[in-house]
């Protein structure tokens, strides 16, 4: 089930009153069960069989959590944690990477003229597996570290991992921050309704109007056959993809946060105007924040972070980002994307060590800030070429064709150019725009908010592209 569709609207309009009625009736566990059942129904829309993989993952992580909680000796706790993390990674590895690994290995064996081959299996990738596996790891690691005070009952672990707003494309919710919310029922008198409604409408707009139009009319065409287009179209397609992926993925996160907020639950923010970043480290504090902070806390810091000298720090940065790249998918293009980011982060850290006097971002003169934003954005765009292209060969085709300035533009229209400009302009709006809109929301009658919401959705329906196009991050 995709968020901005009538299917989802009907599903949510049935669930929302049920969930709150159960809270008002004082049936907290039934409230949780209703949301869990709805989450599995939501997931089963793609495949009911693969819902059992999700269920198995939940039960396994709950069991490991019990073992960690019951074990008195630290060696036993560590063994349970290692088993849990290894099994989660094995599950992810099998479904996501077995096909790629076996193909690459068989090609290598064939080139070495070794007669043995790994069997090729047709494996269906369970949607959202990268997200729910990371959340399972978050549960057992948070328990082991003591960030979570005790193992939680199965119903809470099930709710935490399977909760439908974040289930298939994040944000990656952390156990230590989400599970305490399940101890008490949400308060029906204190719900961030304005936040929920604003984020949902804004998310639907970004997805249906900006992302879908750019994808269909510009980016998909240019990346399908880059040699057929000139530099102007390809440059527009690269900028267009930067805007498309932001508007697509941040739209999903906004709708997820809004949908959860209306049910009384809180998620971590996932995007914060990433293209206004002045450095690459700043970019990663603003882009897919739930993944970058997950990688930092569960991978970069356990690897040693910056505690073992400069060389180890650079190596840790590179390794973390390469693994972050591979998390997106089993392909060399994601390895290159991660390595480019990791290498640039290491270089940036090296340079900042040498030029300590330059000062932190935000304290530089305006022209230097503008230049830094421009450079960071263009480096991110360069990396997006590898991320978006079907394979590394196609990415190199795009880079080569970017030198072809003699061919006139055949894709870029004023409408598409204005969408790109809009997508970049929203990076520089006031950071407290939501708060300003909230003040307006509280000044007008609730029925009028409903009418305005309806009008906004109708306008989006008129202007928008195909609203049922899947979100980019569903494939990860």
């Amino acid at each position: 089930m995709v968020f901005p569709t009538l299917n989802f609207l009907l599903f949510y309009l049935a669930l929302w009153p049920t969930a709150w009625a159960l809270v008002r009736a004082g049936r907290h566990n039934l409230h949780k069960l209703a949301i869990i059942a709805a989450s599995y129904f939501f997931y089963a829309f793609w495949s009911w069989k693969l819902a059992f993989v999700l269920l198995g993952s939940v039960i396994f992580n709950w069991g490991i959590g019990r073992l960690i909680g019951l074990a008195k000796r630290s060696a036993l706790r560590r063994a349970a944690l290692s088993l849990g993390v290894a099994a989660n990674l094995a599950l992810l590895g099998f479904f996501k990477y077995y096909g790629w690994f076996s193909e690459e290995l068989n090609a290598l064996l064939a080139s070495l003229e070794v007669g043995r081959e790994l069997p090729l299996l047709e494996i269906v990738l369970p949607i959202g597996i990268s997200f729910y596996t990371f959340q399972g790891i978050s549960y057992i690691v948070d328990l082991f570290r003591g960030d979570l005070d005790r193992p939680r009952p199965l119903i809470d672990v099930m709710f935490f991992i399977s909760f439908f707003p974040h289930l298939v494309a994040g944000p990656i919710v952390r156990a230590a921050s989400f599970l305490p919310q399940l101890e008490r029922p949400p308060d029906p008198c204190r719900v961030f309704v304005s936040l929920g409604v604003l984020l949902i409408v804004w998310g639907v707009f970004k997805k249906a109007v900006v992302a879908n139009w750019l994808a269909v009319s510009l980016v998909d065409k240019a990346f399908f056959d880059p040699q057929a287009y000139g530099a102007v179209d390809l440059l527009a397609a690269v900028y267009g993809y930067a805007v498309q992926i932001y508007c697509d993925f941040s739209a999903y996160s906004d709708i997820a946060i809004g949908v959860a907020a209306l049910l009384g639950y809180r998620f971590q923010r996932n995007f914060n105007q990433p293209y206004r970043a002045e450095t690459l480290a700043d970019f990663w504090r603003r882009w897919h924040m739930s993944l970058s902070s997950w990688l930092r806390d569960y991978l970069y810091i356990p690897l040693g972070g910056n505690r073992h000298g400069r060389i180890r720090t650079y190596a840790n940065l590179l390794l973390t980002m390469v693994l972050g790249g591979i998390w997106h998918g089993a392909a060399w293009k994601f390895v290159i994307w991660g390595a480019l980011h990791g290498g640039a982060l290491a270089a940036e850290r090296m340079a900042s060590g040498r030029n300590g006097a330059a000062g932190p971002p935000g304290t530089r003169p305006p022209w230097r800030r503008a230049l830094a934003i421009l450079l960071t954005f263009h480096f991110v765009c360069l990396c997006w070429i590898f991320f978006r292209a079907d394979n590394t060969g196609r990415a190199l085709d795009v880079l080569t064709a970017l030198g072809n300035w003699s061919q006139p533009s055949s894709l870029l229209t004023p409408f598409l150019a204005s969408l790109i400009a809009f997508g970049l302009a929203i990076q520089f709006t006031s950071p407290d725009l939501l708060q300003q809109l909230d003040r307006i929301y509280h000044r007008i009658p609730t029925w009028a908010v409903g009418v305005l919401t309806g009008i906004a959705l109708l306008l989006i329906e008129i202007v928008g592209g195909d609203s049922s196009a899947p979100f980019i991050y569903f494939q990860f």
């Binding site: 309704v193 304005s194 929920g196 409604v197 971590q268 480290a281 970058s292 940065l317 009008i455």
Partner: protein, 92 residues
């Protein structure tokens, strides 16, 4: 990688400075918004019913959606005419 930030995750940052309301206000908002969508985007409802898996229930829903869509295409003049006809019948 960004340096660790001493801020709890699962954060209040989006909600900072925003005022909560009773959950029931969403009911009013949703009702008004859905009503508007039903009135002005009845065509969307028909398209949705066409994508439903075929079954007697789906066929029934599709028929009702088509009826609703026809009703929504009635112009004010047509509506006036039908009221006049209705009154004429009663006068007889």
């Amino acid at each position: 990688m960004p340096e660790p930030v001493n801020e709890p995750l699962g954060t209040l940052d989006l909600e900072r400075g925003m005022r909560p309301s009773p959950a029931s206000t969403f009911r009013t908002i949703a009702l008004n918004a859905v009503l508007l969508l039903l009135l002005f985007n009845s065509e969307g409802l028909v398209q949705w019913t066409q994508r439903l898996p075929s079954s007697p229930a789906s066929a029934w829903i599709a028929e009702r959606a088509a009826d609703w869509n026809r009703m929504m295409h009635v112009s004010p003049a047509e509506m006036f005419e039908s009221v006049r006809n209705l009154l004429k019948v009663e006068q007889r």
